[in-house]
Symmetry: C3
Subunit: 323 residues, 3 copies
């Protein structure tokens, strides 16, 4: 009975209606987002960092899970597009009073919102909201998933693709390795889908078995348990945050053990191509998934990822609601 996300994401004309997940999106949509983002990187360098594309629109940041950093990036992107931004930290609000998620959403719809940026600890929450909007016949409000449970973080996936394209120009010849806690990572899922859709011929994951989803190969990746093998000849190294707070018990001996086997050190990085780039979605655990020498070194493009992230979010928002 419920629509699949990809059917909710595109309208009848094949245009982006919501951004819930990268899975199932056509390559042209991904490419159009990256193309749209490019000029926005220049806006941020002007004296007046404002465009009127979302002037008079109301963007609601619905954060059911606290994340100052992600909320900030969306708030800046929306304000640079001249939108009005309303921040709602909903854990402390109506849901505490026993209201259902969809009653909360209905109320915000009735306040004539134009966009919901949704962060939620439960996988599928943004999809549930988008499905509800379709059910009530609302085609005006656009939903952007800002991270839901272990499911997806599509703007992170897109900004990673922007970064790769910026440095490597072409996806079609690349070998990309994703290292670490794939099991708990919505970021890794969005990255794998994006890389595959954009035509990267070899996507690798490098992790201990305990930190990989079962049957991860079906996502189109090659699995490595050893860093030396997995990093050999790669163009792009994508490290993941070790989600200590999401782990229960016996998946991992200790962060120190993880660092020894899977932490990205200068020595291990030597297996990659000499011009390889190193990425991280932040915030970093230095000395756990990444060594400080690498994090601050010449291969790292971790801070450009953040800069491109603002432009990519501006692109998504303006494509959705910019008229």
């Amino acid at each position: 009975m419920r629509d699949k996300p990809q059917n909710l994401q595109l309208n009848a004309h094949g245009e982006l209606q919501h951004l819930l997940t990268i899975e199932g999106l056509p390559r042209e949509i991904l490419t159009r987002i990256l193309d749209t983002a490019a000029p926005f990187t220049e806006v941020a360098e002007r004296e007046v960092k404002k465009l009127p594309l979302l002037r008079g629109k109301s963007v609601f940041n619905l954060f059911f899970e606290n994340s100052t950093r992600t909320r900030t990036t969306f708030e800046i992107a929306a304000k640079r597009l001249s939108a009005d931004v309303i921040n709602l930290n909903i854990n402390t609000s109506s849901t505490a009073k026993g209201e259902t998620l969809l009653d909360t959403v209905d109320n915000l719809v009735a306040m004539q919102a134009d966009m919901f940026v949704v962060r939620h600890a439960a996988s599928g929450a943004p999809h549930l909201i988008a499905g509800h909007l379709a059910n009530i016949g609302n085609r005006h409000i656009h939903v952007v998933n800002a991270g839901d449970g272990r499911h997806a973080h599509p703007t992170q996936g897109l900004l990673d693709m922007y970064t790769i394209r910026h440095y490597k120009k072409d996806f079609s010849q690349l070998t990309v390795a994703i290292i670490g806690d794939v099991l708990h990572s919505r970021v890794a899922r969005s990255q794998i889908h994006a890389l595959t859709i954009l035509g990267v011929p070899e996507v690798r994951v490098i992790a201990p078995k305990t930190l990989l989803p079962s049957a991860v190969e079906r996502m189109g990746v090659r699995v490595f348990h050893d860093m030396t093998e997995g990093l050999r000849g790669v163009d792009v190294v994508m490290t993941l945050r070790l989600q200590n707070e999401r782990m229960q018990g016996a998946l991992l001996p200790s962060p120190q053990e993880f660092y020894k086997s899977y932490g990205l050190t200068p020595e291990k990085l030597q297996q990659a191509k000499p011009d390889a780039i190193v990425m991280h979605p932040g915030p970093m655990n230095r000395g756990v998934e990444i060594d400080s020498v690498v994090a601050d070194g010449a291969h790292a493009v971790i801070l450009p990822q953040v800069t491109f992230g603002i432009a990519v979010r501006m692109a998504v928002m303006s494509m959705l609601a910019g008229g």
Copy 2:
């Protein structure tokens, strides 16, 4: 020695100076607010939802009691009027450092605020602030009560009147029933005053004795303890939120018992007129004061209440500070 609220609310020309309570306001003021709100409902449907009426004004949301929902409606209303909005959650701030309420207010006055939107757990706090402004000779800053203790929630009362007028056109022929926890409800007080002032000939309250203020009849209402009797032939059914968090002990056996006797079900609603409308101030306790079938049914105008609430708050704010 202290002025009565109605004397504080109107200036020497009979214009609205503060909105503290509906009690004692002249009918013409209420009607003018509703008339002013009407065109604002259309602003929200434009591409650019902005009017310059409060441009360059500073609206301070002083929330001494947390309420994301109410704060959001005022924030949206102010931003659509182009005001600068400053959100202050004051429970975690200066009062925690031992500063008095009026010292806090004096400081915000010194910051050249134009409007205080005040939410406070203590009945009379907005009135105290307005009285203090009068005492120090400040006629520039306007106070809007966004809910104080059990006392009043005038913008909620006004948006309810806007909703009734929208659907029923004329107040002079109506029978209106207010159901539930009148005792703890600032919303009910504001509704009763507004309905009476606007000339509704029959206002009923339906509740167990334990949830009614003593001598509630003096407010000009007819009291019913039975839903079947109380709902017979009514045009408007106003349900109230059961304020679990404000109840101590033995007023109520349980929410389930309350639902059985006073929850608004489709069966009970059949006593009302066929074109009756059903209202709720939100957030709803589904299955307690209202059945989901009714909440989502054809009689419910609960979400239009929210939409009209933005327009009514824009009307109040622009009448107070729009020049």
Copy 3:
């Protein structure tokens, strides 16, 4: 290896690059800030309280320590200059996830901020940030210290100087007394430096020995332990907040004892000149460091301090980032 604050604060042309501390700033810079603030006091009295000087700039309020009042003054100042303001309460954010302060800063730099307003419990945090910006070659982002540990609160010191100049015109003939908990007070440090630089011939501190830094005389002040002596003939009385929350154990018998010896009462104030002004940085502990009769009396200029504080912060922000 690390630059001294005064070297970080001024650029190669001797213009203000950051505002970290008043210590070491040239008198001309202080005077220029006060001169720049003067016309901004009039902006606040206009109908439209906006100037376009920071239009399209992003001001980040980085509050690692909660302070609604100080955050509000900076937020208002930035909004009156038309900046976009992003509020970050970072205690609950990334640093909780184990990210280092400088990683957080690097991320915000990558978001193309124009200004960081920094409040931190640790002395030196804004200096650390400014030093880091210099190390990475960023000359675009300006840091304003909004209070760091016991070290400095330069905008408070500046607004105090604005207030003194407003009422006393000339610094060169004044006797100024600072009373109370100098030991824990970043405000007192900034006041002493500012008064000295601006040429006040006699700056006194009045406090029990336990609430004075060792060798406080080296800052150029005369020390008094007795109010009658210390207040004799002064032009300006600057009271300090008793920082109960920063005291451990045996520095003070009790607030009541403090009031008896050092609380500013009308009787004690009679020692000062008849036209003396009384200041307090707020929030006041009435009946501890200041008697309510004095706080609300004819000598008090405590609320004008707040008003001037907005103008002074607008001046600092526009000098730093206004082009």
